[in-house]
Symmetry: C2
Subunit: 363 residues, 2 copies
């Protein structure tokens, strides 16, 4: 937040800032998605929906998980939410009592630990390390499990590292006899190899996914969770009290995204790949070492040991002197210190300009 506010202040003063700090795609939502939303409004689809979401959308989600992952889920196992954040609220509200624990990676997306703590749980952090390709180490996870552990929270592709978890590792995590909560929001944005859903390997898992990243639909606020059937009624009760239902016409946009926006997703993925390759080349030529393969999402997590020990100070200095905004690694937990997160959710032109500015700054 400090960097964001300082960045906005510089922009108010008339400076142009290169935002390698962005967490949302700069693409517009696909035309077919917008058209479906427009048509639903014109058709007065503007009332409360079923608290779990439109059956047609839940059927499309179930079909998507079958077509892509061969995972068999029933539409009744799905709850549609206004973005993915409320889905985590529902899940951890249902799973946690005070004093329970959830295993999270370190580094991790900052809100993930907040969800757990807010709902009375203790986040237990297991380091994921660059020298292990930022993959989880299931043996290290196993050692942290106690009687109080209610879930293991994985994210693949990962924010902040962009790493896609290997199939075998997800499989092993699914055999730990603790429910896996799997954040699959960056699925679809994978440039090498193949992402795997936790539902390929187990039914005793909670999946959270949505439309914000792969379909560039951040402002639509549309996400969903998939849960084992026995948890649906308690999850639905939280939804009925605190959410009522997701927006009605946005749910039609979600149906269009799944059924019609495949070519748009491919176009955006191709462009992200191009940007990724360009930024990787740029960062390496600036002397940063990147010893792992960031195959997905739109982030690099870059070591800064040769420049500074303090990621917030370095990010702040880069912003002030080079007018390039990045996210300090410390935001993502103690293991994130000594890193910066670079996002390539910006145009090729901005990546080139940003690299040039950083070249001068580092020189």
């Amino acid at each position: 937040m400090d960097i964001l506010e300082a960045s906005q202040e510089l922009e108010r003063q008339g400076h142009s800032i290169i935002p390698f700090s962005l967490g949302e795609p700069d693409f517009q939502a696909p035309e077919c998605v917008k058209e479906a939303c427009l048509q639903a409004i014109r058709d007065n689809k503007t009332k409360y929906t079923h608290s779990q979401g439109l059956v047609e959308l839940r059927e499309a989600i179930a079909e998507h998980y079958f077509e892509k992952y061969r995972a068999k889920i029933h539409p009744d196992q799905i709850i549609v939410t206004p973005g993915t954040s409320p889905a985590f609220f529902l899940i951890f509200s249902t799973l946690l009592e005070k004093g329970d624990s959830v295993i999270l990676p370190n580094p991790h997306y900052p809100c993930d630990a907040n969800f757990v703590e807010f709902l009375g749980g203790n986040p237990l952090f297991v380091p994921v390390r660059e020298e292990e390709g930022y993959q989880w180490n299931p043996d290290r996870v196993k050692k942290r499990i106690s009687k109080k552990t209610r879930a293991v929270f994985i994210t693949s592709p990962s924010n902040p590292t962009g790493v896609v978890l290997e199939k075998e590792i997800i499989q092993k995590m699914c055999r730990l006899k603790i429910p896996v909560v799997s954040d699959e929001l960056y699925h679809g944005l994978v440039y090498e190899g193949q992402e795997h859903s936790v539902l390929e390997f187990t039914n005793e898992a909670f999946v959270v996914n949505g439309f914000s990243k792969a379909y560039a639909m951040t402002g639509f606020r549309l996400g969903y969770l998939i849960a084992p059937k026995k948890y649906i009624r308690p999850l639905q009760k939280i939804q009925q009290n605190f959410i009522i239902s997701a927006n009605s016409f946005v749910q039609y946009a979600g149906i269009a995204a799944l059924k019609e926006a495949g070519p748009d997703l491919e176009r955006m993925r191709g462009e992200f790949k191009r940007r990724r390759d360009l930024m990787l080349k740029g960062l390496l030529s600036l002397g940063f070492q990147i010893n792992y393969t960031p195959q997905g999402a739109f982030y690099f997590f870059v070591k800064i040991g040769h420049l500074s020990k303090n990621s917030l100070e370095l990010a702040y200095d880069m912003l002030q002197k080079a007018h390039v905004a990045v996210t300090p690694g410390i935001d993502f937990g103690s293991e994130g210190e000594g890193h910066l997160r670079f996002s390539y959710a910006v145009s090729v032109e901005k990546i080139e300009e940003g690299m040039e500015r950083l070249g001068k700054y580092l020189a």
Copy 2:
């Protein structure tokens, strides 16, 4: 939920049910509101907004509260939420620690007590009684206040009674030195007298309002809270973690509602008044006694002592035998037992048909 499910089952069997149980207007959203939403989508206003909501919408809300109530609020005191339910989540998350208490009316909207309990608080119920016109008794409230009391939760017009709280009573509630949380969602739907905002009398209050009821925008999921400035930062943190922001284009619909939909609101209010008068006449002619003035919202709360002691049983029997769905009073707390809630968010034709069916049922 039992009545709703039984009602849906009867509809699946081909029966037509008169839904005097509805909690949402049967009107379509105003054309100007839909058009503003369509235009925002066409203009690609589909990204995350400021976590507190668009400045233009918050300015329009502040202007609305000044024009209608002469309340001076700053747009920075407002947080825009996906419906009003999440606004209560934000407020009670911020106000309550485990063991704190909140004073609520009995009868009350069922979720209100759930919000408090879910967030670790104890709901303390103060009866509001038909023989007092369902107005609060501030002296009775005062006696319930302890060191642990963090808020008094008022709703005017009330769900389930439709009563508009008198100005003097709201004033007295504002002098109790406990923050008032004021649900003003049914403001605009008042057919006799004048509704008052708590912000006319104090700045130390939390207001929750939205667009669902007065503007018939339930499926848009758009609400907001107004809070004293010192609470905004903690409220915003919860929003940033669990909501991120409200839908972007729906916020433009909210601006249009406040600036352009005045004539639509008047048209719908006129129609609601017509229905209210018709339903009141019908209920009286069926032998129900209504000894208070339901001036707002779209509900009557009707005593059933001459028919049954069990509101759930009576509602169930009416549904099965007369195919009329109503809401059992017990849903609204212990003081609600012995009553049924009748909603007039249905057409004049349906009110007439429903009254005829009930006439036969009671005969």
